[in-house]
């Protein structure tokens, strides 16, 4: 590889990282806004840790997907994100039943149909990711 080509690749990589960082920053700003909103109204204080894990995982996947643009890994990350969301949403929401206790008062919110819809969306995302990966492989030039 010539020096010029090496420099081109390096520039491409820097550009891609910059783009990924920008996209992650935008997504991060959105999560931060949600975090502040939840903290101010003190809605579900027990679930803020779960929320933080979800936010950090989403940021990681956003960055990883953007950085791995034009590679097969992008689709691997898309599928991994959908898998993570299915498992994590079911686990963190106790399969769609949240319970809050305040002294002698208990509030239960049950949203199993909504969780089922979220899981269905993520299954569709997995299917889409697989199709995208197949299409990407079929279009890639063979070595």
């Amino acid at each position: 590889m010539s020096e010029i080509e090496e420099e081109k690749t390096f520039r491409k990589l820097i550009k891609r990282i910059a783009k990924a960082t920008l996209a992650t920053a935008i997504v991060g700003a959105f999560w931060l806004f949600l975090w502040i909103l939840l903290s101010v109204f003190a809605v579900f204080p027990e679930y803020l840790t779960f929320f933080a894990i979800l936010a950090w995982a989403t940021l990681f996947f956003t960055f990883a997907i953007r950085v791995s643009e034009d590679t097969i890994y992008k689709y691997c990350f898309i599928i991994a994100r959908a898998f993570f969301l299915i498992i994590y949403l079911a686990y963190a929401t106790n399969c769609g039943i949240l319970t809050l206790n305040f002294m002698d008062f208990q509030l239960t919110v049950e949203f199993v149909p909504l969780l089922a819809l979220m899981i269905a969306i993520n299954l569709l995302a997995i299917a889409r990711g697989l199709l995208q990966a197949i299409e990407f492989v079929s279009q890639s030039p063979k070595d």
């Binding site: 509030l107 049950e110 569709l124």
Partner: protein
């Protein structure tokens, strides 16, 4: 394949928007519902008659929100010292958006049931643990349930139930005694009070009935006179007191 991927992308985007918008609109609907004081409970009425204790609390739900309310129900559990005395649950019809439903929450316990679970409630004042759990589903998708526990002071309807001045007149063959109690309950005690007398070998020797009507927070005293066969009469025995067909007291008696 590209078109399939694009279609899937659109479907996923639309479904995510719907999934995220639904809880937000449900929250706004609930805020609207509670801001307008659409749910109201009237003062409960309590009664105690013919051995049945009943409480009724009328309430209304005026659905001013955007979505239908379904699976509306309320459960009430009354207990004392981790022992359940009574449970009651009621399921209400659906309340479509923009409509109003009137109903009442009723709880009824027979004296017999109450005595079998906790006899102390009849003769001693105590604190009862009441657990109320209302629940409802908004837009047929998101369900909310609340559970609150609080203590309620229970006033015994037969507080300090006493049998005194037991006497027997050999000439007239009359057995006499006084029965007294204080009605500490918030409701009047209406019904028949039955006294059954047994001798020392457990043989039934006489009985008498009186209709009583004791207002709330009122002491009560009554005199019972029973005609007893002299041959069956003994120096001591057992007296049983029944109210509305339920035994509320068993005590040994002895002539002085």
């Amino acid at each position: 394949m590209r078109q399939t991927i694009r279609a899937l992308g659109w479907i996923i985007a639309i479904l995510w928007i719907c999934t995220l918008l639904l809880p937000i609109t449900v929250a706004f609907s609930l805020i609207k519902l509670f801001e307008s004081k659409a749910v109201g409970v009237q003062e409960p009425t309590v009664s105690f008659s013919n051995g049945n204790f009943s409480m009724s609390a009328p309430f209304h739900i005026n659905n001013t929100g955007f979505y239908d309310l379904s699976d509306i129900g309320i459960s009430i559990q009354i207990g004392r010292k981790n022992k359940t005395i009574s449970t009651s649950s009621r399921l209400l019809p659906n309340v479509p958006a923009g409509t109003m439903v009137n109903s009442s929450c009723d709880i009824s316990v027979s004296l017999e049931e109450m005595v079998s679970k906790d006899r102390e409630l009849l003769i001693n004042d105590t604190d009862l643990n009441v657990s109320v759990s209302p629940r409802f589903r908004v837009a047929y998708i998101i369900a909310f349930g609340f559970s609150m526990s609080f203590a309620v002071q229970w006033g015994a309807p037969f507080y300090n139930l006493t049998i005194s001045d037991v006497a027997y007149d050999n000439v007239s063959q009359k057995f006499s005694m006084w029965v007294s109690f204080d009605n500490h309950a918030v409701y009047p005690v209406n019904g028949s009070l039955l006294v059954m007398l047994y001798n020392d070998i457990g043989e039934h020797i006489g009985s008498a009935t009186q209709d009583v009507n004791v207002p709330s927070e009122t002491p009560f005293q009554t005199f019972f006179e029973l005609t007893i066969d002299r041959l069956k009469m003994t120096r001591n025995g057992v007296v049983r007191l029944y109210f509305g067909g339920t035994q509320i007291l068993e005590k040994e008696w002895e002539l002085s």
